[in-house]
């Protein structure tokens, strides 16, 4: 009886010695890479005269060029958010009552390709889609779509240098 208990204890100790370090190696190590900083904008695409919406200003010229293929005449910024992500970290960023993004830093990308970031888009709290991409500084991910009233929305997620935070 005592001998059997000793064997069981030995086996348990061996199992702990093998699996705990392995588990730590697989699950515990955070992804590598540097902290990334983002400037996020929620944009409304419309053909309305911007003067009717004095609360909102037009997007800057660089963002306007990104949205240029779309048919709407004006793109107005309705929300701005700045945030940063450390490797392995994720954040839920509320852009409006109905639009939220979840950004996750998934670690360093292949040489020279920056960091891998996944962006999940939530509409009314429900996941609409997810996009994963390696991005370098100054790269912008633009998620866009149309609204029921014939206007459009866009979430512009630009990776910015730390000093622009």
């Amino acid at each position: 009886m005592t001998h059997s208990r000793t064997i069981r204890f030995f086996l348990f100790a061996v199992a702990l010695g093998v699996f705990l370090p392995a588990e730590r190696m697989l699950a515990g190590d955070p992804p590598k890479g540097s902290e990334v900083h983002f400037h996020a904008q929620l944009v409304w695409g419309t053909n309305d005269d911007p003067a009717k919406h004095p609360k909102f200003r037009e997007v800057d010229s660089a963002s306007r060029k990104i949205l240029d293929p779309f048919k709407w005449k004006h793109f107005l910024v309705t929300e701005n958010k700045n945030f940063s992500l450390n490797p392995g970290e994720q954040k839920k960023v509320k852009m409006s009552d109905k639009c939220t993004i979840i950004a996750k830093h998934k670690g360093k990308a292949a040489k020279g390709k920056g960091e891998v970031i996944s962006v999940t888009l939530l509409g009314d709290g429900k996941p609409i889609g997810k996009h994963t991409k390696s991005i370098v500084e100054k790269h912008t991910i633009a998620l866009c779509g149309s609204l029921k009233n014939g206007t459009a929305w866009a979430v512009l997620l630009k990776r910015v240098p730390e000093k622009q935070k």
């Binding site: 060029k65 409006s96 996944s118 889609g129």
Partner: protein, 170 residues
């Protein structure tokens, strides 16, 4: 719905069908709800753009671009040949696959069944507050954007994803 029918619907929107074929496809769109949904989705996507097709200029000449593709194919072929010429190495790894796989499955199971609470934190940046209260389950949901198209704007250094969801975000 067959791929040919889907392509015909796209051709109908692009105005590339003969008069006879156009009548057939229009009939299909009226009769079939799936065809109707695809027609609506494609029309909406095309309608969002100023022009139906974006002109994309390659940053390099066509010949140079295809020479790179060709070189990459040749490199992969060479790698495959090298791998095939070493059967001993493959057999050795195959022998290890079963025990390593079993051990890996145990480790993964051990990892997955660890109790974990939500990752909650709060970060302030200037005037904006970004709350972080996301459970891993939500963030790890592998969800593609099914009704979307993606294009890369080289000069603007941007990736644009058009999501055809008609969601209300305002």
């Amino acid at each position: 719905m067959e791929l040919e029918a889907k392509l015909s619907i796209q051709a109908l929107i692009d105005g590339e069908l003969s008069a006879e074929k156009q009548v057939d496809i229009e009939r299909l769109v009226k009769a079939d709800s799936e065809a109707q949904a695809l027609f609506k989705e494609l029309s909406n996507t095309v309608g969002a753009l100023k022009e139906s097709e974006l002109e994309h200029k390659l940053p390099e000449t066509r010949e140079f671009f295809w020479s790179k593709v060709s070189a990459e194919i040749e490199r992969e072929d060479r790698q495959a040949e090298v791998a095939q010429s070493r059967p001993g190495a493959v057999a050795w790894w195959k022998k290890l696959m079963v025990p390593v796989g079993a051990a890996a499955a145990l480790v993964v199971a051990f990892t997955l069944f660890q109790p974990a609470g939500p990752d909650v934190a709060k970060t302030n940046f200037g005037t904006n507050t970004v709350s972080t209260a996301v459970t891993e389950t939500l963030a790890e949901t592998e969800l593609e954007m099914p009704d979307s198209f993606i294009f890369y704007m080289f000069e603007q250094n941007a990736t644009v994803i058009w999501v055809d969801s008609k969601m209300d975000v305002k």
